[in-house]
């Protein structure tokens, strides 16, 4: 099992006797953090303008960038459905945009194999700006009439908070593979 290994800084795997990461946590934590990310911004404040970044989407992109392949490419469907329940967008807009984002990210990663902080951030900026603008377009198609300047603060906040979200996801990733005592 590769899951029972922890990679050390020099790339070797280390395994401790009687300790193994929980498979449930290792597989389930990404999903759980994204669901929380969709749910929490709404509970944090009663906003009279779109001010908080779409945390669910940011965490989704961060997980896919940190661990490509950990979340299946169709994960935008169930996760987007949950996000749509609470986001206030026309139902289905997150399903559509998250699925497209996952495919786009896969295609970009196939062409840009070497990655660093800056390129990852730039790719994420592209996805985030496109996501927020397209969300606005979908909401306007469904009856709203909001002008583009209203979402500029949200775009700036989202772009700047993405590295922070990435750090939090990296912390969650380390917690995900924490070896626990194995009970037999």
């Amino acid at each position: 099992m590769t899951m029972a290994r922890l990679s050390r800084r020099d790339g070797t795997a280390r395994q401790r006797i009687n300790r193994a990461p929980s498979p449930l946590l290792a597989r389930g934590l990404p999903w759980l953090t994204i669901l929380l990310g969709s749910l929490l911004p709404g509970l944090l404040l009663i906003a009279s303008a779109p001010v908080l970044p779409p945390f669910g989407f940011l965490i989704f992109v961060a997980w896919r960038q940190l661990r490509p392949g950990l979340l299946p490419i169709w994960s935008g469907l169930p996760l987007g459905l949950f996000d749509d329940l609470y986001s206030g967008q026309p139902f289905g807009s997150a399903v559509l945009l998250w699925s497209i984002a996952a495919i786009a990210l896969d295609l970009i990663e196939a062409r840009l194999p070497w990655r660093n902080f800056l390129t990852e951030w730039l790719v994420a900026i592209g996805l985030i700006v496109a996501y927020i603008v397209l969300s606005l377009a979908l909401a306007n198609m469904a009856g709203a009439a909001v002008s583009l300047p209203v979402i500029v603060p949200q775009i700036v906040i989202s772009v700047l908070s993405y590295p922070l979200v990435g750090r939090v996801v990296a912390m969650a990733d380390r917690f995900r593979l924490t070896p626990f005592m194995v009970l037999r």
Partner: protein, 294 residues
């Protein structure tokens, strides 16, 4: 960082198939999403049941965070007040002295009002509250402005009821769940509130702008009579919103209207009140109901 593990499937049939199927599933997800969007644009109420159930499920968590929000705000206000106590105290004393005078004047006006109303034989229309509840969550990441109310069918909340706080109009109930309801805030761009200037009754519409302000559109074209600082109250035309509810204050004059700030910031409102939907009295029957045929 090194590139991730080679994802080429090579000659393995199994790996090729699994890659193909995962991409197919991704595309199917996008297609399903597109279908859902089309359905929800065609009939906006199609998913209100699912959304209502979801809101009901998170309602306890919402109540807890709403309480936390209220405490946090109080704590911040307390810390802020610590620094401004003296000047605030002096200002309050000054205002109290003024208010005492005003109170006497208001009592006199009220008495006169009562007398005049008795003369006119008008009945006092008391605002009838349906429920008092907290706003538990909102769509703070979307351009749409919805909030979730911690009371639903169990408290007698029904669609179309106006929602207000102590300081002014907040919105109206859009969808009702078992123990929660979805409120369309007046700052949403789909919300349209008939208003009038409190001072002299210049009629206008207040349409949400999506960013915490409303766009005031005058009904009468011509010279724009609005001034900065004008108070707008709901006029009650067309029913739904009770007339006289404070709504917005004009902050910026435009050529054919104004931009106004909403008076009651929903994030400051601890509890909100759900009112009966207001219905204007039916207009009197026309004097000559006979038609020309008889």
């Amino acid at each position: 960082m090194a590139p991730p593990a080679n994802k080429r499937s090579g000659f393995s049939r199994r790996a090729q198939y699994s890659t193909f199927f995962s991409y197919t599933a991704g595309v199917i997800g996008a297609v399903v999403g597109l279908g859902l969007v089309v359905v929800s644009i065609a009939s906006p109420g199609a998913f209100s049941g699912v959304r209502g159930m979801a809101a009901d499920m998170t309602e306890p968590a919402g109540q807890a965070t709403a309480t936390g929000r209220a405490y946090g705000k109080e704590a911040l206000a307390g810390i802020g007040g610590f620094f401004t106590t003296r000047s605030e105290h002096a200002r309050l004393e000054r205002e109290l002295a003024e208010a005492k005078v005003r109170l006497v004047e208001a009592q006199a006006t009220m008495a006169e009002n009562r007398r005049l109303k008795r003369l006119l034989d008008l009945k006092e229309a008391e605002p009838d509250a349906v429920a008092f509840a907290r706003l538990t969550s909102s769509t703070s990441t979307s351009t749409r402005r919805f909030a979730t109310l911690g009371a639903g069918r169990d408290k007698g909340v029904a669609e179309g009821m106006p929602v207000r706080s102590a300081t002014g109009l907040i919105g109206r109930v859009l969808e009702v769940g078992a123990s929660s309801a979805r409120v369309l805030l007046i700052t949403d761009s789909e919300s349209l509130v008939p208003v009038r200037r409190a001072r002299d009754g210049v009629p206008a519409f207040a349409q949400g702008h999506g960013d915490g302000t409303v766009r005031v559109r005058l009904i009468n074209l011509g010279i724009n009579p609005l001034k900065k600082g004008d108070m707008l109250v709901s006029s009650g035309s067309g029913g739904l919103y009770r007339p006289g509810t404070p709504t917005a204050i004009v902050t910026e004059i435009l050529r054919d209207g104004a931009i106004a700030r909403v008076l009651s910031n929903p994030s400051d409102a601890d509890f909100v009140m759900v009112e009966q939907a207001w219905a204007p009295e039916a207009p009197p029957q026309p004097a000559s109901p006979k038609t020309g045929r008889e």
